[in-house]
Structures are given as structure tokens and as C-alpha cells.
């Protein structure tokens, strides 16, 4: 059967199980929209292409499937860029499909032409400019394969309009064989043996779990190892949720914005097992001083991450879930009771200190850390939380108790303000059965607040927690500490009344100024059928940690 390129695309998307696309139309992708109109795929019109890319990312993280976003050529395509880069840094499988000007005029700077494959190459796992209809089927299948296997990541397909309109053949064979792309899943036996020995010999082991534990769905295997041997666990920002936040052996996030017990354990450790983490600067700080007493094991599916930032004693390339399953056979270690006791003591002390430091008395402001701990009580972790970037992100990371893998969705690597709200939209659309909450700051919120219309149009139910400190709080804090308190360009005067703004979109909400009102307000938000915004007045002086 002869089809058009646009028909082949939509058919392939359907065959790959795509049920939802986040996108924005224009002239250069109009043929695709013409076909989508008759497809069972649901198209969610966002209010900015960046929102579409972030929503696809939130969808992917909440469902474990590939998220798909779409934009027209030129400005549509460039508006996707921040979303693509955000997904790249956090290894999130999304596919971005862009319209492009006709092949015969590419390179002539015609209306709305931009070299989007060139522009996104540095932060795409791979990208394609379709120049020949006969390659189209193969390219789409490859894109899904590349995005979702190995170390996941974004793949962009740039489709010139003549390819969309022209005849194309659909080949349903979905398993591509790409000779330059063969990820390694199984760990090397010799290395597994060495890891088992190192664990047996160590007396103070610590595991650092990263986002890779979540993307390889290895939490059960991780827990089994942790409980069998008695290994305290810390996580990176991306690794939050890889082990339940209330687990006795979980110490919290490590690094410059992390929990002191976690950093203390890493500093004292004689063995550090890094799993699915990049050992990036925010986690390690100065690598010359990081985990100095420890032998380092690094497990990652991406060989390029091993040894990139940190010297490694025992490297092993593989999928974490598979490697941990393999490792069981080799494990001979006793339970590290003494070390577990020591670390538990540190942890308990810290918990007491935290409890003391979280002031719930009424004052001029609401305490955001208290809000997040109340939220934890109310959801019991049975919700998906997304965050924006800034103090709000770190408050959420350290004070919301994430229980389930994949239920903490944040921009870790790129730190993209404006990510949380559209990511929440994507997450809720992917998992309508889940309560979805976004923790936001007044600065970040204003980077994506046009998506309130998307929420309204598609009737998406999101609980918005907005910490309003009338500041770019985290930058202000930086200026306070590192720039002698010379505050500049960090006040957000001119911000709207957020509750009225939501009301303008027909969305209910309330403003909370007292700690004593927090619990009831959050309960109302959680019980409301549909989106609800709670704005909390927060002290600009409130510290991140």
C-alpha cells in the first residue's frame, strides 16, 4: 500500500504503542497534523514547544515509556531545545519530531528554516534529518530503539515537508540492527567476582544510587543487596526514590546540597559503590577530597561515565538490574552490623536535629520544609512529585519523603527552571491513576505558567505547591554567601497575584501565610477534583539547607 511520509510516521508511532503526543503545529508539520487528526493517538496542545518537550519527559519518567513531542520547523524546533537538553542530561527517553523545510531548499535560509539536527547534536543521543523517503520507516524504528535502550536519551527526527507529503513505504519490522550501537547489558564475570570480594573485605561500604537505578528498574535488586549485606545508601538528586525514603539504611542525598550524614558516610567509607550515576560535581564536590578512604566501584551502562569524573578501582559496564542479579551468585559477605550501627546512630542524631530545626510555629512566613514534611505525611509517598529548580527543588529533595522509584521527577543535570509544571502535566497524562504534585518557586513558575491553559484545556489534575519568596531565592542566597550580600536582579517585583492568575484560567487555589494552615490547605488541594494551587508565603531569608 502506498502511503505518504506523514502516514508512515503516524502508523509507526501507533505501532510503537504511542498513545499521546505533546506538540504544537505550524506550516512545516501540517501534513503530520492532517494525519494525526484521524489517528487514535491523543495530541496534547501545549502553550509553548518547550512545555511539550518537558511534558514528554515527565510522561516518560512517570510511565517508563518513550515520550513523544512534536514541533514545526524553525522557531518551533528551537523552542524544543531546552527540553531536549534537559532530557539528555537526565538520560530520559524522548523522541522529538520536527517539521523541516523542503529538502530541495535546505541550506538556503528559507522561511522558518533552521539546522535543528546541527543545533541539537551535542545534546541528543542521536538525531536524523530524513532526506529520503525510503529511509523513513527504518529511522523511526531506530529512533525508538536508540532512545529507549542502553543509556536512554532524546532522539530527534527532522522531517522535511516534501518527505511528509511524498510517497513512502512502511516496513513494520521494528527491531533494527545498528552496527555502531550495541549496548552492553551483562556485567563481566571477572569484575563481578572482584566486586563481591571487595564487598566482603570492606568494613564500611556505602552505595551511591543514581538515576540509572531508576531507569533500569533495579530498586528491588538494590534493596535486596542493601539488606542482605547491610550497606547504607545515599543517592544523587536523580537517584531519589531508588530506595524508599523511609528505609532505615537510606541516608538521604549526598553532595553540596545534600544531607550531612550522607556526606559523612561517604567520607568515612572504605568502599563506595556508585550505581548509575555520573559522579557529577554537585554530588562529589572537589573530587580530590571525595571519598578519599574508599575503594571505588562504578557500575554504569555507559562506559564513558566510568572514570570520567572519578578514578575507579573496579569498573563494570552493564545494566544495573542485570549486574545486581548476576552479583548475587558471587556474594559471600557477612552482614556489616558494626558499620550499620554506627551509621544508624549518625542518622538518628541527624533526624532529631532536623525535627528541631523544622519550625512549625506561626510567624510572618510559612516554613517550606515543614510544608514538605506535612505533604509526605499526607501522601505517604503515594504520589508523583515534580519540582522546579532553585531552593524549592532542594527543599523537596531533602524534606519530601519519596518512597517509590520514578515518583520524584526533577531536572537534575541541567537544572532547568520551568521544567516542573509541564513535566507534571506529562506525568499526570501518563499516569492518570496517580496524584501528581509540582513543587514550584515563583521564578520558575513564571517560566512555564502559560501551561495553565494546557491544564485547563485537557482537564489535567495537578496539585501546584508554589513557594513564593518574591525572589530568585537560590541565586539570592548565592549572592548573600559568595558576593557579600550584594543583591542584584533577584527580586521578582511585578509578579502577578498567582491565585487570581489561576482563577483567570478557571483553576481554584488559595494562599497560605501561616504554618498552622498548612495541613488543611494541603488536604484541600489533595482532595480537590482537579487542579488546585496553594501558594505559600516564604521568607526570602529561608536557607536552602
Amino acid at each position: 500500500m502506498t502511503m505518504t511520509g506523514a502516514q508512515v510516521l503516524v502508523k509507526a508511532l501507533e505501532d510503537h504503542g504511542v498513545t499521546t503526543i505533546f506538540g504544537y503545529p505550524g506550516a512545516a508539520n501540517a501534513p503530520i497534523y492532517d494525519v494525526l487528526a484521524g489517528s487514535k493517538i491523543r495530541h496534547i496542545l501545549t502553550r509553548h514547544e518547550q512545555g511539550a518537550a518537558h511534558a514528554a519527559s515527565g510522561y516518560a519518567r512517570a510511565t517508563g515509556e518513550v515520550g513523544v513531542c512534536m514541533a514545526t520547523s524553525g522557531p518551533g524546533a528551537t523552542n524544543l531545545i531546552t527540553g531536549i537538553a534537559t532530557a539528555y542530561m537526565d538520560s530520559i527517553p524522548i523522541i522529538a519530531i520536527t517539521g523541516q523545510v523542503s529538502t530541495e531548499v535546505i541550506g538556503r535560509d528559507v522561511f522558518q528554516e533552521v539546522d535543528i539536527t546541527g543545533a541539537t547534536a551535542p545534546f541528543c543521543k542521536h538525531n536524523y534529518l530524513v532526506k529520503n523517503s525510503k529511509d523513513l520507516s527504518r529511522i523511526i524504528h531506530e529512533a525508538f530503539h536508540i532512545a529507549s535502550t542502553g543509556r536512554p536519551g532524546p532522539v530527534l527526527i527532522d522531517m522535511p515537508i516534501d518527505i511528509q507529503l511524498g510517497e513512502a513505504e512502511y516496513d513494520e519490522h521494528k527491531e533494527p540492527d545498528i552496527r555502531g550501537y550495541k549496548p552492553t547489558y551483562k556485567g563481566h564475570a571477572l569484575q563481578l567476582k572482584r566486586i563481591a570480594e571487595a564487598i566482603a573485605q570492606s568494613s564500611r561500604p556505602v552505595i551511591c544510587a543514581g538515576g540509572g537505578v531508576i531507569s533500569s528498574a533495579a530498586s528491588d535488586e538494590l534493596l535486596e543487596l542493601v539488606e542482605k549485606v547491610g550497606i547504607p545508601v545515599t543517592s544523587t538528586l536523580m537517584g531519589i526514590g531508588s530506595i524508599p525514603g523511609d528505609h532505615p539504611l537510606f541516608l538521604g542525598m549526598l553532595g553540596s546540597h545534600g544531607v550531612s550524614t550522607a556526606n559523612q558516610a561517604v567520607n568515612k567509607a572504605d568502599l563506595l559503590i556508585i550505581m548509575g550515576a555520573r559522579a557529577a560535581d554537585r554530588a562529589t564536590g572537589n573530587t580530590d577530597k571525595f571519598a578519599k578512604q574508599a575503594k571505588i566501584i562504578h557500575i554504569d551502562i555507559d562506559p564513558a561515565e566510568i572514570g570520567k569524573n572519578l578514578g575507579t578501582h573496579i569498573p563494570i559496564v552493564g545494566d544495573i538490574k542485570i549486574v545486581l542479579q548476576q552479583l548475587k551468585k558471587y556474594l559471600v559477605s557477612d552482614y556489616k552490623k558494626e558499620w550499620v550501627d554506627t551509621v544508624t546512630e549518625w542518622k538518628n542524631k541527624q533526624l532529631l536535629k532536623n525535627a528541631d530545626s523544622i519550625n512549625a510555629d506561626d510567624g510572618a512566613y510559612v516554613n517550606p520544609k515543614y510544608v514538605l514534611s506535612v505533604l509526605s505525611d499526607l501522601t505517604k509517598g503515594d504520589a508523583i512529585l515534580t519540582t522546579e529548580v532553585g531552593q524549592n527543588q532542594i527543599w523537596a529533595a531533602n524534606h519530601y519523603r519519596t518512597i517509590y522509584p520514578g515518583s520524584f521527577i526533577t531536572s537534575g543535570g541541567l537544572g532547568t527552571m520551568g521544567y516542573g509544571l509541564p513535566a507534571a502535566i506529562g506525568a499526570k497524562i501518563g499516569r492518570p491513576d496517580k496524584t501528581v504534585i509540582v513543587v514550584s518557586g515563583d521564578g520558575s513558575f513564571q517560566m512555564s505558567m502559560q501551561e495553565l491553559a494546557t491544564i485547563k484545556q485537557w482537564n489535567v489534575d495537578i496539585k501546584i505547591i508554589l513557594f513564593n519568596n518574591e525572589r530568585l531565592g537560590m541565586v539570592r542566597e548565592l549572592q548573600k554567601i559568595k558576593y557579600k550580600g550584594k543583591y542584584f536582579a533577584v527580586t521578582l517585583e511585578g509578579s502577578p497575584d498567582f491565585i487570581k492568575l489561576a482563577a483567570a484560567y478557571g483553576l481554584p487555589g488559595e494562599k497560605v501565610t501561616k504554618n498552622s494552615e498548612v495541613r488543611n490547605a494541603l488536604s484541600r488541594a489533595l482532595q480537590n477534583k482537579g487542579t488546585y494551587i496553594v501558594e505559600f508565603t516564604v521568607d526570602p531569608e529561608e536557607s536552602t539547607l
Binding site: T117, G180, T184, Q191, P303
Partner: protein, 179 residues
């Protein structure tokens, strides 16, 4: 910094060179030269990249290149076990007084004169980096007007070959052979 020779087999389609070049610039790797051309298999091109850097850098370059989907295979060539050649075209001043001396030097170096004009000679020279450098040094006295070089290409000595098909080792840098 020591120099390292990487032979990189890549898919022969548009955009691959820019991906490879882009990777070097954005990761801050230094390359001395990059030469590319099609192989015995028309679907495969081979790049010879001379990298300037320590072992850490070369390992990073190799691993990052391996992540490119269009990169099929990478091998680091040992200079002792490989033949490395570069082609240079050099246009040098030549007067009736100097012409014969230049021709002598060309003969000694087994270079070729490929073009002659009233006041220049154009010379084709193939050789290792050292040899080309020595040749250039000898010609300087006459005045080099223009010089163009291809960048180094390299091949292993003996039976060893680098084949695209025997792949499947994308990134097995840390030894990940199956159990």
C-alpha cells in the same frame, strides 16, 4: 603531550564528520589532524585522528566517540606496529640559481615535482611526520610560498585488519565480555 593515532570506522553518510568534529570541540579535546576517506566498503569511511593528550584524554576520546551511533569501531594504533603517512604539497621559490639544488633535495627525499613555473616548483611529498618536517626544513631556505597537508593516515602492519563487521563491542572499554 604525547600523540596518539586513532583509526575510526564510521558510517559513510552525511553529517558524520560534523558529529565527530563537534564532539572534539565541545569536549575540549585537541586534535592534531583528522583525515577521512571511504574504505574498501563504500558504506564505511575511515577516519584517522591524531589526538594530542594524556592517557585519560585518549580514553575519554575513545569512549565518547564510541557513543556516537555512526561510529562503528575504533582502534588505537601502536606507532611501532603501524605505517603512518601524510601527503604534503609544497610550492617553493625557485630561480635558475636554486632550481637544481632543490631538485637534488627532492631526489634525496624521494619526493616528486608535480608542477613547474618560471619562479616556483611544486613538490609532492609523502612520508611520516618527521620526514615531512625534515623536508620542510630543507626547503625553508628557498622560501616556501604555500604548503598544504592531508593529515596523517595510518594502517597496521602485518595481517591485522580493522573490519566494520566484526563489531558488537560498542564501548566495551572496561572489559565486558560475556560470562
Amino acid at each position: 603531550m604525547p600523540k596518539h593515532t586513532l583509526s575510526v570506522l564510521v558510517e559513510n553518510h552525511a553529517g558524520v564528520l560534523s558529529r565527530v568534529a563537534g564532539l572534539f570541540s565541545r569536549r575540549g579535546f585537541n586534535i592534531d589532524s583528522l583525515a577521512v576517506g571511504v574504505t574498501e566498503d563504500p558504506n564505511v569511511s575511515r577516519m584517522t585522528i591524531i589526538v594530542d593528550g594524556d592517557d585519560y584524554t585518549v580514553e575519554q576520546v575513545t569512549k565518547q566517540l564510541n557513543k556516537l551511533i555512526d561510529v562503528i569501531k575504533i582502534r588505537r594504533l601502536n606507532p611501532e606496529e603501524s605505517v603512518q603517512r601524510e601527503l604534503a604539497l609544497i610550492k617553493v621559490n625557485a630561480t635558475s640559481a636554486t632550481r637544481s639544488e632543490i631538485i637534488q633535495i627532492v631526489d634525496i627525499f624521494r619526493a616528486n615535482i608535480v608542477d613547474v613555473s618560471k619562479n616556483t616548483l611544486t613538490i609532492e611529498m609523502t612520508g611520516s611526520e618527521d620526514k615531512i618536517a625534515a623536508f620542510e626544513e630543507m626547503l625553508k631556505q628557498f622560501g616556501i610560498k604555500e604548503m598544504v597537508r592531508t593529515g596523517m593516515i595510518a594502517i597496521e602492519r602485518g595481517n591485522k585488519i580493522i573490519k566494520a563487521e566484526a563489531s558488537g563491542d560498542n564501548g566495551s572499554v572496561n572489559g565486558t565480555v560475556d560470562e
